[in-house]
Amino acid sequence: MSEKVLMKGNEAIAEAAISCGCRHYFGYPITPQTEIAAYMAKRMPKIGGTFLQAESEIAAINMVIGAASAGVRVMTSSSSPGVSLKSEGISYMAGCDLPALIVNVQRGGPGLGGIQPSQSDYFQATRGGGHGDYHLLVLAPASVQEMAAMTVRAFDLADKYRMPCMLLADGTMGQMMEPVELGESTGGTVDKPWALTGTGMSRKHNIINSLSLTPDELERWNVDRYARYAKVERDEVLYEEYLCDDAEIVVVGFGIAARVAKNAVNAARAEGIKAGMFRPITLWPFPKKAMFERAKTARAFISVELSMGQMIEDIELAVRCTRPVTLCSRVGGMIPSPAEVKKSIEDAHAKLDGRN
């Protein structure tokens, strides 16, 4: 075990990426994730890596495509408006089955929005964001320690399933400092026989491409990709349950919303309301089986989000409308307070009386 250090969430992502073998970073600055680029700019030249500030987000994501095609661990990071610009490239990566890490430290939107924390890119992250049938594997850390751990996990899963992974954080997670213990360097040595590394005149050349003008071939690519997604859905779901076993009211939140929800659950418990918290850690795949199981004991769900209500749709799908689901949210860079979440717990609790 290494020593605990204090780091910003953004810095923890950068250091963790380096520790697991990422030596290529391409990006374009935007608040509130610029510390990732700043950290990479400082470290990469010292360890033989590449840091490149591209002329735009679009250029940066296309550089990521190039590096990923060559089989190296590569990442980019941005915040909401920048991720929209990258979405075309991300769709191409999905179509080319290229592994890479894309970090979105979300800020308020739509449009240029603001620079304060938000979770309103949930649909964009979990539904693909760009055109075509595809998914990103989306991880939502809720502490600086998880920012580091999920970065390493994202690289590993990206390589394992040959798909782009997204770390979906927000301004609070990126800017806050907490103690973090960084794991030993793993190096990220994954065999990538598909990569464009030069044939050395000894093998057939590899092709990485998302274009096919033959419909039955393109159909097969899509179907094969979705078979891989099915494995991800089966094997890679992550979530945390807090005081859920006897909970009547289950508050669902990820990232910063989960941190606030935990305070509210504790406060509600102190007043005798049986509340619990369910925290999806993978947003895609969403922990729908576990949530459906939880709906057998819980009587009502509350979605706490920094959006106008996006994840709430996944909760309703997961519990198959067997339980009422209400929304507690703030937007535009505002964050629900523990008191606001507690109030929504009390409201949901009051409605339970007289109902089974």
Binding site: K4, L6, P32, Q175, E178, K262
Partner: protein, 177 residues
């Protein structure tokens, strides 16, 4: 035990630095902690604040909405956060810059003319650490013995003069009480 601390002032008064110092001291004491800055336009001037939570338990929300301890380094900060302090909480005020008294009577208030003291004693620009000395003296939020090591984490070894400067400012804060 959990201490929710809110430090607020103008950009440039050392609000974030004060918080960072507390965070490192808590880390050395093996406590759970979080440090969250305001990172909006305020960091380019204007009002600025920083949430620090030090606890024996894992920290839930890192946003301090109801501080146990408020360090108010200017008038707008006191105006904005006075009501948020929990009953029985503590407010530390740079009374050189805040031209009013706290209106509540259910909190403990310490008025420290830290800006005037810093100018008077040749510590220009580190009124924040003088005020923090008073906080450490009264609140026991961190242990005095950890101060040198925590300072070494936030002030680069290349700047021995700044290290001494900051330590002396904290000591001045104790003295003033």
């Amino acid at each position: 035990m959990t201490k929710n601390i809110l430090i607020a002032g103008f950009g440039g008064q050392g609000v974030l630095f004060t918080g960072k110092f507390l965070a490192y001291a808590a880390l050395l004491e093996d406590k759970q902690l979080s440090w969250l800055p305001s990172y909006g336009p305020e960091m380019r001037g204007g009002t600025c604040n920083c949430s620090v939570i030090i606890s024996d338990e894992p920290v839930g929300s890192p946003i301090v909405t109801e501080p146990d301890i408020l360090i108010a380094m200017n008038r707008p900060s006191l105006d904005k956060f006075e009501k948020a302090v929990v009953p029985g909480g503590e407010i530390y005020i740079d009374s050189s810059l805040v031209d009013r008294k706290v209106e509540r009577d259910d909190v403990t208030v310490h008025y420290v003319p830290s800006t005037a003291l810093s100018t008077e004693r040749g510590f220009d620009g580190i009124a924040n650490m003088i005020l923090l000395g008073s906080v450490i003296e009264h609140s026991a939020v961190i242990d005095r013995k950890d101060i040198p090591a925590a300072m070494a984490k936030v002030v680069s070894a290349k700047h021995k003069d700044l290290y001494d400067f900051n330590i002396k400012a904290i000591e001045l804060g104790y003295e003033f009480g």
